[in-house]
Subunit: 362 residues, 2 copies
């Protein structure tokens, strides 16, 4: 088993990575006999993994309740969080309870948010089952809900007590969701690690076929990169963590405009990173060859490099102006300056942004 | 002007107390020209104070929006918080915005919660206008929403950047609300400060008539007591802050059972403290004379010392078992051991609790 630690003082927590972890009692430490837990999951995931987790916890003497939510980004709302609160209160869950997020990014974001607010904060464990949540969203304590006017506009910073990554779950992941996760893997290479980007280029076919050795290295390396950033900049205040948002300002515009769940998050981020690269190219920050390498790698990963057909360039702007990084109606964007290096650039000319988007329309 | 500091390291903030503060620009520091603010208030308070705050902020070059919410405890819900989020997003409020809670405890709890979750946390200022919020709920960073199954069951710990107490607002406060605030003043005497309890007994008539000198001392002293506790135990983890919940387990049962807003919070706390005192008396912790002094002081403050006519003793228990202090279906209560001293007692016999409530029914 691979074990990493996210170092955050008294809030530090382990990330455990291996195949077939879910029936191991040790993995659920520090849960103890007599304590309450609530597994939060959706119906697709429930029938695959809930049983084994439940039976292991019950053997430990832990009380287990479960709640099965509808599946999809469109359910990441205040109303659905309220369903979690109601379930917890109906079963009299105390302040010492632990929520267990079993699923992809949507389940993780919803459960983390519920944990941060139920009785002013209870513990939660992340068991991410999608590639995207394993290498990105389950780590770092960003919880989020969508609002009709913007993705992830409601949320908290609230760290889990443990992240448990069972690689077996990738075997049952639909391929479209698997490819979506690769978008965030490529993102790490672009913003932080030239050598890793080259490694992905070389191994993309093994990644696409989910070769066990290759995907294990890949997940561990992404988790390491993210854990380091979180340790230095937990709440996105000193300029490091913000780099992880590369492509997300454009991507969130796509997700919000089309309706949540229509494009997967990684698909929107893929097209969004290409738009960010084009913006960087237009202002003379990134050279054409690097943009091409980025575009080609996304294409090889079966990911979109153009925005959806229905959207015009101006459709993006209204959403982008509400982005969390926007101040005073100015376009502030994370942009790559080369492969392996990115920065946060403020007050970018609106015409340039429009031009970049226009170059990425079908 | 009286000024206290709530000492919480990088999260420290001032409490300013005086009459006629709201048109002073200095009081709104650190707000700066060009920044966004959103005043969150209700219609009763809006027409009294919003204009003066708005005009002062506009003179400072600060952008001001406002949102007027319905008035009452029954509106302290997720749905109403969502109204705040929508207003902020419609006006493109950035992460550097500041929410201004202008009103009583309900407005403060709602606004604090919204501030803790909007774009994962923005600044907020408390301008409490009721006695109860001035001496208690505006200080300490507990934010809260009600759920049909329990009062304050959803919330966060999130500190304001400033608390501004304008004593003039008490002049327009309805007397029932004013008396409700006195319940929490008396609570401080019972749990922490025998001399203050005696001082309240001696000065109760001046307090009831809102004598300026007396009420100013009273508010400052309560703020000092609370600020000290918060500095030592921000998140209710080491046994100090929990004492502030005296009477609240019983009181919340009353508020939830009757429907939020039917009894005021201070009224429910008054009857709840008497129930706690009776419980303490029944287990031999508190002597009969002290209980009588407590009961008499609440009576003089026009506060209830019996539960509402409609409720039977067993009606309390279902609510009390969901209390945030409850673990493993056991009754854990803050109880006074004498006037000026209280403790947190676990696993109190259910029959004793029922007997105590029965002694406090009409």
């Amino acid at each position: 088993m691979e074990k990493l630690i996210v170092k955050l003082g008294s809030k530090s927590y382990p990330i455990s990575i291996a195949s077939g972890l879910l029936n191991s009692k040790n993995i659920y430490s520090p849960l103890k006999s007599g304590e309450y837990t609530m597994i939060v999951t959706n119906k697709d995931i429930h029938h695959l993994y809930a049983k084994i987790i439940k039976s292991t916890l019950i053997q430990m003497g832990v009380k287990v309740d479960e709640i099965i939510l509808p599946n999809g980004e469109q359910y990441k709302t205040l109303d659905v969080v309220n369903i979690i609160f109601t379930a917890l209160l109906r079963k009299n869950h105390p302040r010492s309870t632990t929520l267990i997020a079993l699923g992809g990014g949507v389940i993780g974001d919803l459960t983390g948010f519920a944990a941060s607010c139920y009785k002013r904060g209870v513990r939660f464990i992340q068991i991410p089952t999608s590639l995207l949540s394993q290498i990105d969203s389950s780590i770092g304590g960003k919880t989020a809900l969508n609002h009709p006017l913007g993705k992830n506009m409601i949320g908290t910073f609230y760290q889990p007590i443990s992240v448990i990554i069972d690689l077996n779950s990738l075997k049952t992941l639909p391929s479209r969701q698997f490819f979506s996760g690769i978008a965030e893997i490529i993102k790490y290479g672009i913003i932080l690690d030239y050598n890793f980007f080259c490694w992905i280029e070389k191994n993309i076919n093994y990644i696409l076929h989910c070769d066990e050795k290759i995907i294990t290295y890949c997940i561990r390396h992404c988790c390491e990169l993210k854990a380091k950033i979180i340790a230095k900049d937990e709440k996105e205040t000193n300029g490091e963590r913000i780099l992880l948002n590369l492509g997300h300002t454009f991507g969130h515009a796509i997700e919000t405009e089309l309706g949540y769940g229509f494009w997967l998050h990684g698909e929107a981020v893929s097209a969004g990173i290409v738009m960010a690269a084009k913006t960087a190219e237009l202002i003379g920050l990134l050279n054409f060859n690097d943009t091409e390498r980025i575009v080609n790698l996304f294409k090889k990963a079966h990911l979109p490099t153009k925005g959806p057909a229905k959207m015009h360039a101006k459709d993006y702007l209204a959403h982008m102006i509400r982005d969390k990084k926007t101040e005073k109606n100015k376009f502030n964007l994370v942009l790559p300056s080369s492969i392996g290096k990115a920065g946060f650039y403020t007050d970018i000319n609106k015409k340039i942004v429009l031009q970049a988007i226009n170059q990425c329309l079908l």
